[in-house]
């Protein structure tokens, strides 16, 4: 009984049935297959490129583009390079993604909370919203807003206006633009100082509350700081900015900011579509907090508002945030649908126009795809980090 030997590894007849050897074999075969497939594609591509007389390389990025772009956030003219076109496209993609995410979050949270309301009517309205827009392709929504809503609008002379400051017509949405005045820089500095001061106050108040249990009127102090300091700066140095309101001159509206109809329809469609999914995510997250938590909070004497703020929302957010980020990523990827209505974003500009002009299919596609990949991967790394940080620490 004493000499219980360790189980020796089973004796195998041949190398083929040995698990160790077999795992190596499988892996080597897989790697060889992948490399061979890659080589097959590579040689074909080389041959095809040689046949068509296309030289590969990224040198074309320095060539002159020679076409105009209807919307650019950085200065751009037809004489600029393809490299600059890439930047313009990237910024336009980011712009529509940020606008879409902002609107979708607001609509989505509203709809999600409305679906859980005690009010029967509101609940039904929210359900109808979600079930309608979840089941329609986003591209269809973009087309609908672009061709059926914005295109039939009247021309600039009969623009629909809101308070004589915002105008909508078939050329886009016109809104007042802030123009910097003499007091702009001091105003900006004052705002920065106010923000820093608020952060300091919030931290100090939290530390004091943890140490002594005394509450400090943080909200009012911060509001006073944020409004007071810039106001003081404006009184001393003059007003920081004024609004330039668009005006009808000749056949068009002049001045102010113009949002092209492509951007309006794309941002609207993406936010309406994604909001339906965000609504479901929010509802699921709130429902995932067990009812016992609410009961425990009220037995501790917390009022409903505080229960929501201190007990329900922190726990619901833990469930909501991962799928919410997924929705944001989807929205970012769906912004490439703008290509279908000619919004000048990454895919339309770079994989579309630049590719057609230069014929550098591989380079342009590689650049376009790596932009999306880079954004997706960095967000998922961020997500994993965040998930680890907020994950329940169990005993």
């Amino acid at each position: 009984m004493q000499n219980v030997s360790k189980p020796s590894s089973p004796v195998r007849g041949s190398l083929l049935t040995d698990p160790q050897a077999r795992s190596w074999l499988f892996q080597i075969v897989a790697v060889i297959a992948v490399v061979a497939f890659g080589w097959f594609l590579f040689t074909n591509t080389q041959a095809n490129l040689a046949n068509r007389g296309i030289t590969s390389g990224f040198g074309f990025l320095n060539n002159t583009a020679g076409f105009g772009i209807p919307q650019h956030l950085i200065p751009y003219s037809e004489g600029d390079t393809y490299g600059r076109v890439f930047l313009v496209g990237l910024l336009n993609t980011l712009l529509v993604s940020v606008i879409g995410i902002f609107l979708a979050t607001i609509i989505g949270f509203t709809v999600g909370v409305a679906r859980l309301s005690n009010n029967w009517l509101l609940r039904k309205v929210a359900t109808v919203y979600i079930e309608t827009f979840r089941n329609i392709p986003p591209l269809l929504l973009i087309f609908f807003f672009y061709f059926a809503v914005l295109a039939p609008l009247p021309g600039p002379r009969q623009s629909l206006s809101l308070g004589e400051a915002f105008f909508v017509n078939n050329r886009g949405l016109y809104m007042p633009a802030p123009i910097a005045d003499a007091g702009f820089l001091p105003g900006l500095i004052a705002l920065l100082i106010a923000i820093v001061a608020s952060v300091v106050v919030v931290r100090w108040a939290r530390k004091r509350r943890h140490a002594t249990g005394q509450r400090f009127p943080v909200l009012w102090t911060v509001l006073a700081l944020l409004i007071g300091i810039p106001l003081l700066a404006a009184l001393v140095f003059g007003r920081p900015l004024h609004w330039e309101v668009p005006e009808l001159q000749g056949f068009n509206l002049r001045g102010g900011w113009v949002i092209i109809p492509e951007l309006v329809s794309l941002a609207l469609a993406l936010s309406v579509y994604t909001a339906a999914f965000i609504g479901e995510t929010v509802r699921g997250g709130i429902q995932a907090v067990s009812h016992g938590q609410t009961e425990a909070a009220s037995s501790l004497g917390l009022r409903p508002g505080l229960t929501l703020r201190l007990v329900i929302i922190p726990q619901a957010l833990r469930v909501i945030i991962p799928p919410l980020t997924n929705q944001y990523l989807n929205l970012m990827k769906n912004s490439s649908l703008g290509a279908a209505v000619g919004y000048p974003e990454m895919v339309a500009l770079f994989a579309g126009t630049v590719l057609n002009q230069t014929g550098q299919a591989i380079e342009t596609m590689a650049i376009t795809m790596s932009v999306y990949l880079a954004i997706s991967i960095s967000i998922s790394i961020l997500m994993n980090w965040y998930n680890k940080r907020i994950a329940l620490i169990e005993r």
């Binding site: 897989a30 591509t45 309301s117 005690n118 509101l122 609908f144 061709f147 039939p152 895919v347 590719l355």
Partner: protein
């Protein structure tokens, strides 16, 4: 003490009724001031949206006629949809051959009936056989050959093309997706790395760039002289793209299988492939059917992106028809019709998948 008479106190008023229509309205719509305000807001929203839509779509709409001139302004012109219905459903599929498309659909519906019957015993085997045989039959009917006139894919279009892309995409992506999922859970590092890279790469880029790839890069990748048809190229890329999503769905199902199942299989002396094929996958695939249906819904909606590479699916057919000079100014009708078709399909499928999910959930709750 003795001559004191006992008098009843007056009855309290009855509690407000808690049953009946009035009570329901009070409880659900007007229980507090805030709730009343919300109800009024909701009513305002409904009033803002419903009457104009009903007026436009039904009351003022034109249903009969055959030209644009028959339509009265102020309402929807459904004549347009009626006149172009064939094109929206079949694209440019030759008129005298359209029965083939109808037959394909009828066979699919009849073939699928046993899968929904609870009394049918051999569902798994039958479903698998259907998955293998039906695509061949459908291809023969739609494309032709063997006695049928050949209809090249450039003449396919409309809803039929949408369904073809989505269905072939998902069915083709299933085996590849299962392999990728197995690879991702494999203990062999090289295989795991290859599969993870594949999955994350395709999931990280938008479908639209994948379709661009199919139209500009695939011809470069293939040997000279090998020309694939536009639809086939798109479908190949859609299959590879969807496989990554299916792989993640299947992996989710495999993770839900308790470890005891693997250990039991090992104790029975089963090797990797038999453990996977006989024990893990049958259980995992059953769990992920709702997930696969949801992936299918997403693909069904996304198949509308083939507009970008110039294929005429339902959405693109409608887009083209709305720019017809004989039918000006009817984009709203066209897109509302498209939305309705997509909505009916997607809503039916998502209700089915939600029901399935509830049904499947019961057995696994402890």
């Amino acid at each position: 003490m003795s001559n004191q008479t006992h008098t009843f106190k007056p009855d309290l008023p009855p509690p407000p009724s808690s049953v009946g229509v009035l009570a329901w309205i009070r409880g659900n719509l007007f229980s507090s001031i805030g709730n009343t305000l919300l109800t009024l807001f909701g009513l305002y929203l409904v009033w803002l949206i419903v009457p104009p839509v009903v007026n436009w779509a039904f009351i003022n709409a034109t249903w009969s006629g055959s030209t644009r001139a028959d339509c009265v302004p102020g309402g929807a012109c459904w004549v347009f949809i009626k006149e172009r219905f064939g094109q929206f459903m079949y694209g440019f599929y030759p008129g005298d051959q359209r029965w083939r498309v109808d037959l394909t659909v009828v066979i699919a519906v009849i073939g699928a009936i046993p899968l929904f019957l609870d009394s049918f015993k051999h569902k798994a085997r039958y479903g698998l056989a259907l998955l293998v045989i039906y695509p061949l039959v459908a291809f023969w009917l739609l494309y032709g050959g063997l006695g049928l006139r050949v209809v090249p894919s450039s003449e396919w279009g409309g809803l039929m093309l949408t369904v073809v892309i989505a269905a072939v995409g998902i069915v083709g992506a299933l085996p590849l997706g299962i392999l990728l999922a197995l690879g991702r859970r494999s203990k062999l590092p090289a295989i795991k790395v290859i599969c993870v890279t594949m999955i994350e790469f395709w999931r990280g880029i938008p479908l639209i760039t994948v379709l661009f790839l199919s139209s500009v890069m695939l011809p470069l990748f293939l040997p000279d002289g090998m020309n694939l048809d536009k639809l086939l190229r798109a479908i190949v890329m859609v299959i590879i793209f969807e496989a990554a999503y299916i792989a993640e769905v299947v992996r989710g199902g495999m993770q839900a299988i308790p470890k005891g199942q693997y250990e039991a299989a090992a104790a029975m002396g089963l090797g990797y492939w038999r453990t996977t094929g006989l024990v893990i996958l049958p259980q995992a695939l059953k769990l992920v059917i709702p997930g696969i249906v949801n992936t299918f819904i997403a693909l069904f909606k996304d198949s509308s992106l083939v507009v970008i590479i110039g294929l005429f699916d339902l959405l693109n057919s409608i887009k083209r028809a709305t720019s017809d000079p004989a039918w000006p100014g009817l984009s709203t009708e066209g897109y509302v019709f498209a939305a309705l078709v997509f909505w009916i399909f997607c809503f039916a499928m998502s209700s089915y998948s939600a029901r399935l999910e509830r049904k499947l959930n019961t057995g696994h709750k402890r």
